[in-house]
């Protein structure tokens, strides 16, 4: 069983529009050609991917209000076990606008999320410890809602390691920095707001982290490139000739694909290549999650790997 923790989950609403009109003087009314509503957040997306492959998963985090109930129902309908902590307020609704011709650069509007009080944190930790007894892997991902300390992922990694459960962390800023001190099995820094720099700088940072005991580092350095750094070496993975339709969820598909292949016995290098194919299949589809084996295998032919 795989635990995914999404401290600040959301209902994601995605609109596809023909043209974004934001010129001065206009009172823009933009009609969506299509729209899509889904339960979202990094861990939730990873859980959906895994559940569709019949891999048992528990989704954990903090939810609130009517949006929280809608999210919980949607997650459960995917066959995912839910173990959320209820707090006061309202779960986030995040909006993504995809403009025709600019699919690789969607506009995202995200809310802050409900306040998490100390007693809810305490209950989360108790519930997390119980779930750890049955866990093979833990995935920790996404932003922290108000009230959740920056040391949250560090504490969860520590607790998982006490049970010898490997941890994947996909985060940024202080939350990531603290988690690194616990030497997770795989780190995927969220570089959307905190880029690690040029490919050379990514390689240098990744190797420093590996020297400090991190199991492996996976970094996206542009839309179609990822770098994997392990104690055995470093690889550049490139997806070529990708026809972008939707980037939302592609990064989560990369992690979920990697995790599912690892859980089925693949080496990390093979698993990341499979993960990148899953991400490519998602990016080439308007669906947020693509788990069809045939489509991922087709996308695998677009993934090119070379050792650095």
């Amino acid at each position: 069983m795989i635990i995914t923790v999404t401290p600040n989950p959301a209902i994601d609403k995605i609109y596809w529009i023909e043209r974004l009109c934001l010129e001065d003087g206009e009172m823009p009314v933009m009609r969506a050609t299509r729209s899509y509503l889904t339960a979202g957040g990094k861990g939730i997306n990873v859980s959906i991917f895994l559940a569709r492959l019949n891999i048992e998963t528990i989704a954990m985090g903090f939810i609130a209000g009517e949006t929280g109930r809608a999210l919980e129902r949607r997650v459960r309908d995917e066959g995912i076990t839910t173990s959320f902590i209820w707090v006061e307020g309202e779960t986030r609704t995040n909006v993504t606008i995809v403009e025709h011709g600019h699919e690789a650069r969607p506009i995202q509007i995200t809310e802050q999320g409900p306040m998490v009080p100390p007693d809810a944190l305490k209950r989360f930790i108790a519930q997390y410890k119980r779930a750890l007894q049955r866990a093979r892997y833990v995935f920790l991902g996404g932003s922290l809602p108000p009230g959740v300390p920056e040391t949250f992922y560090q504490e969860l990694t520590h607790l998982a390691h006490a049970r010898r459960v490997p941890v994947i962390v996909n985060a940024s800023g202080e939350a990531l920095t603290h988690a690194l001190s616990e030497q997770p099995w795989l780190v995927k820094p969220d570089t959307r707001q905190h880029p690690l720099g040029t490919p050379e700088e990514i390689l240098r940072t990744g190797r420093e982290w590996i020297a400090h005991g991190i199991g492996a580092v996976l970094v996206s350095h542009d839309i179609t490139h990822d770098v994997l750094i392990t104690p055995q070496g470093a690889w550049d993975l490139e997806a070529r000739d990708v026809q972008f339709k939707n980037l939302l969820g592609a990064e989560d598909a990369l992690i979920a694909g990697t995790l599912s292949a690892t859980a089925q016995g693949a080496s990390l290098e093979e698993a990341v290549r499979w993960g990148m194919a899953a991400a490519t299949a998602c990016a080439e589809s308007e669906e947020l999650v693509v788990t069809d084996r045939q489509r991922i295998e087709q996308a695998l032919t677009k993934v090119h790997v070379h050792q650095l």
Binding site: I58, A64, G68, R69, E72, R76, G79, I80, T81, T82, S83, F84, W86, V87, E88, D119, R123, A126, Q127, K129, R130, A131, Q133, R134
Partner: protein, 141 residues
Amino acid sequence: MKVKELMTRDLTAAEPTMTVRELIELFVRSGLSSVPVVNDEGRIVGIISERDIIEGALPGYFEVLYGITDMNHLSQKLREIENDHIEFYMTPDVVTIEEDEDDLVAADLMIRKNVKSLPVVNRDGIFVGVLRRIDLLKDLL
């Protein structure tokens, strides 16, 4: 069908040391009206419902009164127990079912024990979900 294919995969639960106030907040926010009570290992040690809390505040209420004549009285009694641990009010003898049991066994158990839902445990006795009457009915359509 097996129970694990039908059950609601939700692990929302209370701990024995949760207070009555915290439990009421959980019920309000989640929309649930009863939850299993689990220990640190995830084993079920009881079940607690809204009814248990009302009975905790006003013992004998359901048997004798059949109606509230004074809301202030109930409010005062609730405030008196709001910081108590729920372990004092939960039902400790819980009817559970294993996830690998057949739906027929579950339906029979629900009818015989006159319960609306059954906490589901795995082979090791760990809480893994809840089977509700509606989960069974949904499957029969």
